[in-house]
C-alpha cells in the first residue's frame, strides 16, 4: 500500500516538475532572451539585414546567388531546388572520393574557365566545391582575385581597379589567427555597384 502511494506521488511530481521547467526553459528563457536581444542589438537579432534604396536586398550573413559575369560569384551551393535557397539550407553530402563529386568539380572548373578564357591560373578549390550550408556568404581571397579579370573584362574597366576593391574587402582572421581570411561576396558586389555605377549606398538595419 505504501509503495502505491509513492508511485502516484512520483508521477504527480514528474508532471508538476515538467510543467514548471517547461515554463522556465521553454517560455520565460527564450522570451526574455528575445526581448533582451531586441532591446540591445535589434539589427543583429534580425540577421543583419542589408537595405538598398529602401528595399531589403538580403542579409550580410547569408550568401545569395550571383551568375552575372559583372559580379563576383560565390561558392557552388547544393540547396534544392535552386542554388542559394535561403529558407532551405543544405550541403551536397557527396563523398569527395566519389564519382558524382568528381563530375561536378570538373563541370564547375570547365564553366569557370569558359567564362574567363584568358585566365589559365589554377581554379581555387572553394570555387568548385559546394559549401556546407549552401548559403556561404564568403569566398577565399584567392577565389576573389581569380575572378578579378573576368569582372574587369565584363565591366570594361582595369583589372587593377577591381583588385583594389577586393583588397579593400579582405576580412582577416579575428585576433590574427582565428578563422580564415575571406571576402564577403554580397558586400563586395554592393561596393562594386556603388563605386562603378553610382548606385545608392547600402545601409545596415531595418527597412
Amino acid at each position: 500500500m505504501k509503495e502505491e502511494v509513492s508511485v502516484t506521488a512520483t508521477l504527480r511530481q514528474a508532471l508538476g516538475m515538467l510543467g514548471l521547467l517547461t515554463l522556465l526553459t521553454g517560455v520565460v528563457y527564450p522570451l526574455v532572451m528575445t526581448g533582451l536581444a531586441r532591446l540591445t542589438m535589434s539589427s543583429r537579432a534580425d540577421g543583419n539585414p542589408m537595405v538598398l534604396a529602401g528595399q531589403l536586398v538580403g542579409s550580410e550573413l547569408v550568401g545569395q546567388s550571383f551568375d552575372d559575369p559583372q559580379h563576383f560569384w560565390g561558392r557552388p551551393s547544393a540547396t534544392e531546388p535552386v542554388p542559394y535557397r535561403a529558407d532551405a539550407s543544405s550541403g551536397s553530402n557527396l563523398s569527395p572520393f566519389g564519382k558524382a563529386f568528381h563530375e561536378q568539380a570538373a563541370a564547375r572548373t570547365d564553366a569557370l574557365r569558359k567564362a574567363d578564357p584568358g585566365n589559365n591560373t589554377p581554379v581555387p578549390i572553394d570555387l568548385v566545391t559546394a559549401s556546407a550550408s549552401g548559403l556561404d556568404p564568403h569566398i577565399s581571397p584567392q577565389a576573389a582575385y581569380y575572378q578579378a579579370s573576368r569582372v574587369a573584362h565584363a565591366r570594361a574597366i582595369s583589372v587593377d581597379r577591381v583588385r583594389q576593391l577586393v583588397d579593400d574587402h579582405l576580412e582577416r582572421p579575428t585576433w590574427g589567427f582565428l578563422g580564415q581570411p575571406r571576402v564577403n561576396v554580397l558586400m563586395l558586389n554592393l561596393a562594386l555597384e556603388q563605386e562603378l555605377l553610382d548606385r545608392p549606398k547600402p545601409s545596415r538595419g531595418a527597412q
Partner: protein
C-alpha cells in the same frame, strides 16, 4: 599544418583547460549538501519550484527511487514532446503554417531529444514551428542535459558515501542543474551569439530581392537561445537544417569558437567536479587526462587528413591549397571544421559546422570511431563521465584479473554486481549500433536512404547508427533516415543507448553507497597514476576497435583503399 592551424587548436584547448577548475568547483558546490552558489537570488525560485512541484527537497532517494523518478520525468517529457510535435499545426507561434509531424518521425524526434541525442531527421527551417522549437525542443535540451548530469552526481555520491542506501534527490539535482548551471551559462552564451549575428526573434521569414533581382526568403526565429543550450547541454540539434554550418546559426569565427568551447565546457569541467565530490581531485584530472589522450591525436590526424590534396582531383586544374572544402564553410576553413567534427563526436554533442559526409574517407572515420568508443571521451554532459566510470570499473576489474587481486575503486570493493552492471553499460551501445546497422542494410527502407552506393553507402549507414546508438546526433547527412523503419529502429537504439547505460550506473551508485571504505593497501591499484591513465584509454580504444574494425574496414577504409590503390 601551418602555425595558424596550431594556434587555433592550441588556443581552443588552453581556454577549455582554464575553465575546468573554476566551473568544476562551482558545479561541485551545486551538488553538495550545503547552500548552492548564488542562493540569495536563485534560492527563492528553487523553493517555489519545489513547493509547486510537490517535492520535499530534503528527502533523499535510494537508487531505485531515483531511477523511477528519472524515468517518470523523462516519460512525461516524452509524451509532452510527442504530442506537441503531432499537434504542431494547431499550436501558436507558427508563422509558416507548418503542419503536424507524422507519427514515426515524431517518435524518432522525441526519442532523440529526450535521450540527449538530438539526431535530426528534419530540417528545422522547413519543418518546425517556433512553438515546437521553444516549448518542445529547447525544454528537452535543458532537461535531458540536466538528467545526465543528475545521474553523474548520484554516481559520485554513491562512490563517496558509505553505509547508506541514499544517493541524493533526483528533483533537487534536476532543478539545481538547470537553474544554477545550464540557465545562467545559456543566457550568457545567447547574448554573446546574438552579438555575432545569430538571429533571435519571433518574426516571420523576411522576403528580400537579391542584388541580381531574384527573390529569397530569409529564415528567422528564436535561434540563439536554443543554440546556446544545444551546445552547452551536448544536445546538438540545430535550429536550421545544416546546424552550425548555417550562417545565421554560426556567423563568425568568434561565434564558432564560443560554440566549440560550449561543446566541451561542461563535460570537461565535470571531471573536476567528480574529483571534488569523491574527495580526491587527482581522480578527476586522471579521467580528464585519459580522455585527452584519445582526443588530441584524433584532432591532429583529422586536421591533417582534411588539409591534404584530394588525389581524385589531380587530373583537373584546381589549386587545392585550402584542402578538402566540399561541405565546409569559407569562414571556418578546414581546421575549424575538423576541430569541430572531432569535438562534437568526442562529446556526444552532434552539432556540425561542416558536412561530415563530405570528409575524406579516413577523415570521416575518426568522428565515427569516436562515437563508437561509447561517447566516453568527454561524452555527453554527465553521461560521458558516468559512461567513462563504467569503463573505469571494467578496467580495474581487468587489472585485478591480471594480478589476481580483488578489484577496488576509490576504496570501494568492486564485486560481481558492479562488474555485471558495468559490462551491460559498456556493451549495450556497440550491440545496438551493429544490430541497427545490420537491420538497415537488410531492409529496403534502410537501403533506400543511401546516397552513394558502395563502401561510402555502408559508411553512411554505419555512421547513422553509431550516432543514434551512442546518443550523439551528428550524421553523414546524405543518408535519408526519415523512413518508417529507420525512424523506429533508430528511436529504439537511442532509448536503449541512453537508459541501458544510465540505469546500470545508478544501480552501481546504490550498491557502492552501501559499502564500507577499505583502507588502501600495497595491492591497491592507484587510479590516478600515469600507468592507469594509459591503461584506461587503452581499454576504451581496444573495446571500440574490437567491436567496429571489421565494419570500418568495409566502409571508410575500403573507400580509401580503392582510391589510394589507383
Amino acid at each position: 599544418m601551418s602555425g595558424q592551424d596550431f594556434a587555433q587548436i592550441g588556443f581552443y584547448l588552453l581556454v577549455l583547460l582554464a575553465a575546468v577548475k573554476p566551473l568544476g568547483a562551482y558545479a561541485a558546490r551545486v551538488y553538495s549538501d550545503g547552500n548552492p552558489p548564488f542562493d540569495w537570488v536563485l534560492g527563492p525560485v528553487e523553493r517555489i519550484i519545489y513547493r509547486a512541484g510537490g517535492v520535499t527537497a530534503k528527502a533523499e532517494m535510494t537508487w531505485k527511487q531515483y531511477a523511477f523518478a528519472l524515468l517518470a520525468f523523462n516519460g512525461a517529457g516524452f509524451l509532452a514532446l510527442y504530442f506537441s510535435l503531432r499537434l504542431q499545426g494547431l499550436l501558436p507561434f507558427n508563422p509558416r503554417g507548418f503542419v503536424g509531424i507524422e507519427p514515426h518521425r515524431a517518435f524518432n524526434i522525441t526519442a532523440s531529444f529526450v535521450t540527449n541525442t538530438n539526431w535530426q531527421n528534419y530540417g528545422g527551417e522547413t519543418t518546425l514551428s517556433y512553438f515546437s522549437q521553444m516549448v518542445g525542443l529547447t525544454v528537452q535540451n535543458f532537461v535531458s542535459a540536466a538528467t545526465g548530469m543528475a545521474v553523474l552526481a548520484a554516481l559520485a555520491r554513491g562512490i563517496a558515501r558509505r553505509g547508506t542506501e541514499m544517493i541524493g534527490n533526483f528533483w533537487v539535482d534536476l532543478t539545481r542543474t538547470t537553474l544554477h548551471i545550464l540557465l545562467p551559462l545559456s543566457a550568457m552564451l545567447t547574448i554573446a551569439l546574438v552579438s555575432q549575428g545569430v538571429v533571435q526573434n519571433l518574426s516571420d521569414y523576411r522576403p528580400a530581392t537579391t542584388l541580381e533581382g531574384g527573390q529569397e526568403l530569409l529564415p528567422m526565429g528564436p535561434a540563439a537561445s536554443q543554440i546556446a543550450i544545444k551546445q552547452l547541454g551536448t544536445n546538438g540539434g540545430g535550429f536550421f537544417n545544416v546546424n552550425s554550418a548555417h550562417p545565421l546559426e554560426n556567423p563568425t569565427p568568434v561565434s564558432n569558437l564560443l560554440q566549440m568551447l560550449a561543446i566541451l565546457l561542461i563535460p570537461t569541467a565535470l571531471c573536476y567536479t567528480f574529483g571534488r565530490m569523491v574527495g580526491d581531485v587527482r581522480q578527476g584530472w586522471a579521467l580528464l587526462a585519459a580522455m585527452a589522450l584519445v582526443f588530441v591525436p584524433c584532432v591532429l590526424v583529422t586536421v591533417w587528413l582534411e588539409s591534404g590534396a584530394n588525389p581524385t582531383l589531380a587530373d583537373l586544374p584546381i589549386d587545392q591549397g585550402l584542402g578538402n572544402m566540399e561541405g565546409k564553410e569559407t569562414r571556418f576553413g578546414v581546421v575549424n571544421s575538423a576541430l569541430w567534427g572531432v569535438s562534437t563526436t568526442a562529446a556526444s554533442n552532434g552539432s556540425v559546422n561542416s558536412m561530415h559526409d563530405s570528409f575524406t574517407p579516413l577523415g570521416g572515420l575518426v568522428p565515427m570511431f569516436l562515437m563508437q568508443l561509447g561517447e566516453v571521451v568527454f561524452g555527453g554532459v554527465g553521461s560521458g563521465l558516468y559512461g567513462m566510470l563504467m569503463f573505469v570499473i571494467f578496467s580495474v576489474f581487468l587489472a585485478g584479473l591480471m594480478v589476481g587481486r580483488t578489484p577496488e575503486y576509490l576504496g570501494k570493493k568492486v564485486e560481481a554486481f558492479e562488474v555485471k552492471m558495468a559490462s551491460i553499460a559498456v556493451l549495450t551501445p556497440p550491440a545496438v549500433v551493429l544490430l541497427g546497422a545490420a537491420i538497415a542494410t537488410a531492409t529496403p527502407d534502410g537501403l533506400s536512404g543511401v546516397q552513394e552506393a558502395g563502401p561510402h553507402g555502408l559508411s553512411e549507414i554505419l555512421y547513422a547508427f553509431s550516432s543514434m546508438g551512442n546518443n550523439n546526433g551528428s550524421a553523414f547527412a546524405g543518408y535519408g533516415a526519415n523512413t518508417p523503419t529507420t525512424n523506429m529502429t533508430g528511436a529504439i537504439a537511442m532509448l536503449a543507448a541512453r537508459y541501458w547505460v544510465a540505469l546500470p550506473a545508478l544501480a552501481i551508485a546504490g550498491s557502492l553507497a552501501k559499502k564500507k571504505l577499505l583502507p588502501a593497501g600495497p595491492g591497491t591499484l592507484p587510479t590516478h597514476s600515469l600507468l592507469f591513465i594509459f591503461f584506461l584509454s587503452g581499454v576504451v580504444v581496444v573495446v571500440g576497435a574490437l567491436a567496429f574494425v571489421p565494419a570500418l574496414a568495409l566502409g571508410p577504409i575500403a573507400e580509401h583503399l580503392v582510391v589510394a590503390g589507383n
